[in-house]
Amino acid sequence: MSTPFPMPAQTPVWHLYRTLVGIGVFCAVAIVAAFDFTKAPIQRNKVAARKQAVYVVLPAAKEVGTFRRGADGRYMQVSDDTEGDGLVLGGFDAEHKLVGLAIEVAGSGYGSDLRVLYAYSFAQQAIVGMTVLQSSETPGLGDAVDSHPGYKKNFEQLDVALSADRQTLAHPIEFTKQGQKKHAWQIDGITGATITTRSIAQMVAKSAAAVVPGLAASSADFVLAPPRNQ
């Protein structure tokens, strides 16, 4: 028995596989090619932005040097375009006297990767500044971390003094909800951006606990080398 209207021909399943795999391969090639083409200029821009950020968190700095801890445990100056973990940026005044150190930390926020630079002052034994290097958090909510004056004020005099044995922080940095801060080692969050502000607080707390005792013992290592002859 025949039907009055013929059924449309079914698309074979392997046609669907073929189409999606083909488009997937095209997309993969295009993305990797774009990544490779833009890798060098993006890296140059990131190094320049990192250097500019040091002047933001250490306003008294006139020169910047990049340092990394060597196998012997001492910090040594390295090229400004050095990548990787464990870099410390030194801010120096016009007489090449150390103003403070800037440390980059990375982690995950509410919906994006975060990269933050904070400044440590030997003289004040405190974190004295913070700026966000990278964030794609929710516009109007999470992205307020880089513009909210109250949140940034947390990092203007954040206590990271060392304990008596100078191996740990006397008071680990803590995160509190907005308006509940009572001590100089606490960071007040922002209502509406709780997860992002807590993420940054935890990133800075973890980094400071691990790095500051070592930095305090190595203050003599941070000497700006004279420029090399071309």
Partner: protein
């Protein structure tokens, strides 16, 4: 008669997106980035150009592959193509300026879900040849950029007293901060939509008056 109906010329295909079918002011699409990134003219131009690139590239590719993409997987195929070009734009903007990348924030990635792009892929590029799809994408992209620029210039001039970062009124000017906040985006978009609707009604009224027989009073829309 149907036989007399000519397809639009290449020029019409390109220019229709500027004003007659402007994606923001006529079709009211893509309002999320329109409201969000237009607090300065530079951001508006950057977002407009990035979206234009994605529109043109995705329209061309979707048109080129339209004959062998089965309809069951067409939407996922278009989204794959669009998201690829958005990723490429993301890398390019980072390579050009990290400050600009930071200013546009999450809205670069959100170009993927800009309904103008998927709309043109589905409604136009999947039914037309590569040349016409390219012209359509470019025209819609320019129209989108014009719309963003309309909002960006007004908001920056009134909100900050500058245009493209150049101060216009001297240091004594106190900007209307609300214009660079989200509420200012709504106010400015509403004002532009009023203008475009008034313009469309006026043209329709004039066209109706021109077709009225001599001696009869034209019906005036108010």
């Amino acid at each position: 008669m149907a036989a007399d109906k000519q397809p639009p010329s290449d020029a019409d295909e390109f220019f229709k997106g500027f004003f007659a079918q402007n994606p923001v002011f006529v079709q009211v699409l893509g309002t999320c980035p329109t409201l969000a990134v237009t607090n300065s003219a530079v951001n508006a131009v950057a977002m407009g150009l990035a979206t234009t690139f994605v529109l043109v590239a995705s329209n061309v590719v979707v048109s080129a592959i339209r004959s062998f993409v089965p309809k069951q997987v067409r939407i996922v195929s278009y989204i794959l193509v669009i998201s690829t070009f958005v990723t490429v734009v993301d890398y390019l903007i980072q390579a050009i300026s990290l400050d600009l990348y930071k200013a546009l924030g999450a809205f670069i990635a959100l170009i993927v879900v800009n309904c103008i792009i998927l709309g043109r892929a589905e409604a136009f590029a999947s039914k037309n040849n590569v040349k016409r799809s390219l012209l359509d994408g470019a025209g819609m992209g320019v129209g989108f950029t014009i719309a963003l620029l309309c909002l960006g210039t007004v908001r920056e001039i009134v909100g900050k007293g500058s245009l493209f970062g150049i101060p216009l009124f001297g240091s004594d000017y106190q900007g209307w901060v609300i214009m660079i906040l989200p509420a200012g985006g709504f106010f400015t978009l509403a004002a532009w939509l009023m203008f475009f609707n008034w313009r469309a009604q006026r043209r329709a009224r004039l066209a109706a008056a021109a077709t009225q027989p001599a001696g009869t009073a034209p019906e005036v829309a108010r």
